[in-house]
């Protein structure tokens, strides 16, 4: 009987000790956990991410290829100036009579004269590109350290303190929308200008677009311009066969665009 007493004694000491530890842990966590709506202090009503689900519409026929979106994006998000780091960029598509499709990133700077090509051009137009903020994002699936994830309001973002810079996600993205930031050595990408949208502002690229070729909106709000845009136009997404379920919707998208 002695041993049972011993055991009970041990248990009496152990379980309360575990309880105290758990309480301590919760207390520490409470100190670390950000108040869910701290950003709402200065805003009139608190921002609740779960009430929103954002996407973007792009109307190809309106894009004039002025590149202001790519420039504004770099300014707003401190993307390096070197002309090969982009969160958003604009491509020029030129479709030749013989079927060849020439794609050129005009955001890379002064363009070379592809137009001097003697062959007959059938069509030529601009296609703005950015992260498609997929609902089924391959980049998130491959991250070995859970550093990238989708916010409740539908933006795929990266935790730069946790990212180990392994580039899996950059490889996995079928749209080439990620790059390795040369200063932090971590993956960087479009966040829909998260700092702006939580304050009710438009992403910088949408802000500066002179022809409203880009439309930003909330898919959960039936009155949003994006929902109307989706209703009024025949919508395509890039690489639908990959089943990534992009939330960047293109109108008047040509079949040649990849």
């Amino acid at each position: 009987m002695n041993e049972r007493r011993e055991f009970l004694k041990g248990a009496i000491v152990f379980f309360p000790a575990a309880g105290v530890l758990a309480a301590l842990a919760r207390e520490v966590a409470g100190r670390e956990a950000p108040a869910k709506d701290a950003g709402a202090k200065d805003a009139p009503k608190p921002y609740t991410p779960a009430d929103h689900f954002y996407g973007m519409g792009i109307e190809i026929d309106k894009c004039i290829g002025c590149n202001l979106c790519a420039v504004a994006c770099k300014a707003e998000n401190r993307v390096p100036d070197e002309p090969f780091y982009f969160r958003t960029w604009v491509e020029r598509y030129t479709i030749m009579r013989d079927g060849e499709v020439i794609v050129e990133n005009i955001s890379l700077g002064p363009q070379k004269e592809t137009m001097a090509d003697a062959r007959e051009v059938v069509r030529t137009f601009f296609v703005p590109k950015l992260c498609n903020q997929c609902q089924n994002p391959p980049c998130v699936q491959v991250c070995p350290v859970n550093a990238t994830f989708t916010t409740p309001d539908g933006a795929v973002i990266v935790d730069e303190t946790r990212c180990i810079g392994c580039r899996y996600c950059i490889q996995a993205c079928p749209y080439g929308a990620r790059y390795l930031h040369p200063a932090t050595r971590t993956a960087d990408k479009c966040t829909f200008c998260y700092q702006r949208i939580v304050k009710g502002l438009q992403p910088a690229c949408v802000e500066v677009c002179p022809t409203q070729a880009r439309i930003f909106g909330d898919l959960k709000s039936r009155a949003s311009r994006l929902v109307r845009f989706k209703r009024m136009n025949k919508i395509h997404v890039l690489k639908p066969q990959l089943n990534t379920e992009p939330k960047v919707y293109y109108a008047q998208l040509d079949g040649e665009v990849r």
Binding site: E3, E6, G10, F14, A17, A18, L21, A22, L24, A25, V28, A29, E32, A33, P34, K36, G39, Y47, P49, C63, I64, G65, C66, N67, L68, A72, A75, E76, N77, R92, Y93, T94, M115, T124, F125, F126, N146, F149, T151, A155, I157, V158, D159, T161, R162, T191, Y194, Q195, R196, V198, K199, L201, Q202, A204, E207, V208, C209, P210, T211, Q212
Partner: protein, 246 residues
């Protein structure tokens, strides 16, 4: 039955190990490291509180009512102020702290209006090298309300083609009567009273000759004695659309 001493000790060691593990797991390791939910919440929060650069489309109108009102009715109504004036949140918060840039160069307008075959048809485009090549766009177009300037219709009623050519030339700002003395009757019975036409190299030389007194500063100068010396100026330059540079 008596528990052997070894088992007793083992139990203590085990308790310490378990306790230590629990302590490390719940107290020493910050929760953000183990709780995915918490670490995501923190990242989201960090993204949400990044500093802004663009003040946004509604930030300028309170202080710049006149510009905003004019722009709102113009062809440029959709353009963001900060698209042309660069991101200006610092200025909007405190106008004396920072000034937005004001670009008056032609390249600002050319980013959108230079002819480009990939641009949608119908978007107003110009040939930048031919459309008044020597002047800033803003001398003729108000950037906040860029209607093409009214060209005086007087002579254009009958000489529309010349008028149009001149309107986009470097002589755009010269009136017809600078170079042609037109009698009033020319407008009613044109053939009975023809206007004068320049008849000598010196006429153009008054503005373009090197060292000519009172010549406009912006008119490029040539040496009259050597420049195309044996010909009249308009044998080489069409006076209504003079080209001197390519």
């Amino acid at each position: 039955m008596r528990i052997p001493e070894q088992v007793h000790r083992l139990a203590i060691v085990l308790a310490i190990v378990i306790g230590g593990t629990l302590l490390t797991r719940f107290v020493i390791i910050p929760r953000s490291l183990v709780s995915t939910e918490l670490h995501w919440a923190q990242t989201t929060q960090r993204e949400a509180t990044r500093p802004l650069k663009f003040a946004g489309s509604t930030a300028c109108q309170d202080c710049h009512e006149d510009v905003a009102a004019k722009k709102a009715k113009s062809f440029h109504r959709v353009l963001a102020c900060e698209g042309c004036h660069t991101p200006s949140i610092k200025h909007a918060e405190d106008p004396s702290a920072a000034k937005p840039t004001v670009l008056r160069e032609r390249k600002l307008c050319a980013t959108c209006h230079a002819y480009d075959p990939s641009r949608p048809t119908g978007f107003p485009q110009i040939n930048v090298t031919a459309h008044n090549p020597l002047k800033a766009c803003v001398t003729c177009h108000n950037p906040h309300d860029p209607v093409p300037p009214k060209v005086p219709k007087e002579c254009a009623a009958c000489h529309a083609q010349i008028e149009r050519a001149k309107a986009v030339s470097s002589h755009a700002l010269l009136t017809c009567t600078t170079c042609h003395k037109a009698p009033e009757r020319h407008k009613t019975a044109p053939r009975t009273a023809l206007p004068s036409k320049p008849d000598s190299r010196d006429f153009c030389g008054a503005c373009h000759g090197q060292g000519a007194a009172g010549a406009p500063k912006e008119a490029p100068k040539v040496d009259l004695s050597t420049h195309g010396a044996r010909n009249l100026c308009w044998e080489c330059h069409y006076p209504h659309l003079p080209e001197g540079r390519s």
